[in-house]
């Protein structure tokens, strides 16, 4: 498999197109409405989840469901990782961990990824999520994403097909 793990090796426009294609190809991210923000070209790709009433988890506050925030951040980590590799693999998440810094109000969510390390088999990705103020994140996440399954990994994953 020929892969490019160096983000500098990929044209920013190509990366945006690949990310947009990934988000469109996943039925659930399409359902939620995860998209790319129009801005953010200067310092990397910014993900955008427009607010919708059906994303609410807490009616009394009100606040967006913590699972929606997590899903949005997972989708960002997966799409950002898959933009770096050539082959259209189905997104596979090994683990995801999130710290909620404050509740998510009934307004749009934004997220940006930091590729801590993209190895041959897995990538370690950091994700920050904010609403009004980019400097005041509402949640921080950390994901491990499968980049390329080895023969033995494939056997393990196929078991459940």
């Amino acid at each position: 498999m020929s892969t490019t793990h160096d983000s500098d090796g990929i044209d920013a426009q190509v990366a945006r197109e690949r990310i947009a294609a990934t988000l469109q190809a996943i039925p659930y991210t399409r359902h939620l409405g995860v998209r790319l923000a129009n801005h953010g070209a200067a310092d990397g790709v910014v993900f955008h989840l427009p607010f919708d009433g059906r994303l609410i988890g807490n009616v009394t506050l009100p606040a967006i469901h913590g699972g929606v925030v997590a899903t949005f951040m997972e989708a960002a980590a997966l799409a950002a990782t898959y933009a770096l590799i050539d082959e259209g693999l189905p997104p596979k998440l090994v683990d995801f961990s999130i710290d909620y810094l404050s509740s998510a109000g009934p307004i749009d969510l934004y997220a940006q990824c930091e590729m801590h390390r993209v190895g041959k088999r897995i990538a370690a990705v950091g994700v920050r999520c904010w609403q009004r103020n980019v400097d005041a994140p509402i949640a921080l996440g950390r994901a491990h994403v499968f980049v390329a399954a080895s023969a033995s990994d494939a056997a393990v994953m196929e078991e459940h097909d």
Binding site: Y28, G67, P90, S103
Partner: protein
């Protein structure tokens, strides 16, 4: 707060109302089962194409497991408390042991295994398929509210469409 005059709804009924009227849960189709004999909280998510993570529709998207785990753990804490108290998720981690197949309901089995003031610890297994294979394990911590705001206004929950 446990005064029946002030607290006309049982914690079971409140948990049911919360799960039934939570917009995100309704949108994806989460179902809360009755408190089981082993004291664990079970929630289900029936498969439907929009919840999948692959164009072929074979697997649940990882985020759907997270949402179900977060909801189930929250309600497990709620049941452990035995009364209404606002709670907030501090952190949660999920490990995906295997892809979650869409050949049956996704089932979350959650328990609050330690309750302190002001932190509650909860964990959850996510099972999939006819063999109830473990697809993922989630662990989370929850902050219990210091302010006793009392029972929420139920009219805010009853406006929505019943599922």
């Amino acid at each position: 707060m446990n005064d029946p005059q002030k607290f006309p709804v049982s914690i079971e009924e409140l948990a049911r109302l919360f799960s039934q009227h939570m917009p995100h849960g309704r949108d994806v189709g989460m179902v809360l089962d009755d408190l089981s004999a082993d004291g664990k909280t079970r929630m289900r998510l029936p498969p439907q194409p929009l919840l999948s993570g692959d164009p072929g529709g074979k697997f649940f998207f990882p985020g759907t497991l997270f949402s179900l785990a977060d909801s189930a753990c929250g309600l497990a804490v709620f049941r452990a408390l035995g009364r209404y108290l606002p709670i907030a998720t501090i952190d949660m981690r999920i490990d995906h042991l295997a892809p979650a197949t869409m050949d049956g309901d996704l089932v979350a089995v959650a328990e609050c295994y330690r309750l302190t003031q002001p932190i509650a610890f909860a964990r959850c297994e996510l099972l999939c398929g006819p063999q109830s294979k473990v697809a993922a394990i989630a662990v989370g911590t929850f902050m219990l509210s210091s302010s006793s705001r009392g029972v929420p206004d139920m009219t805010r929950f009853t406006g929505g469409r019943q599922r």
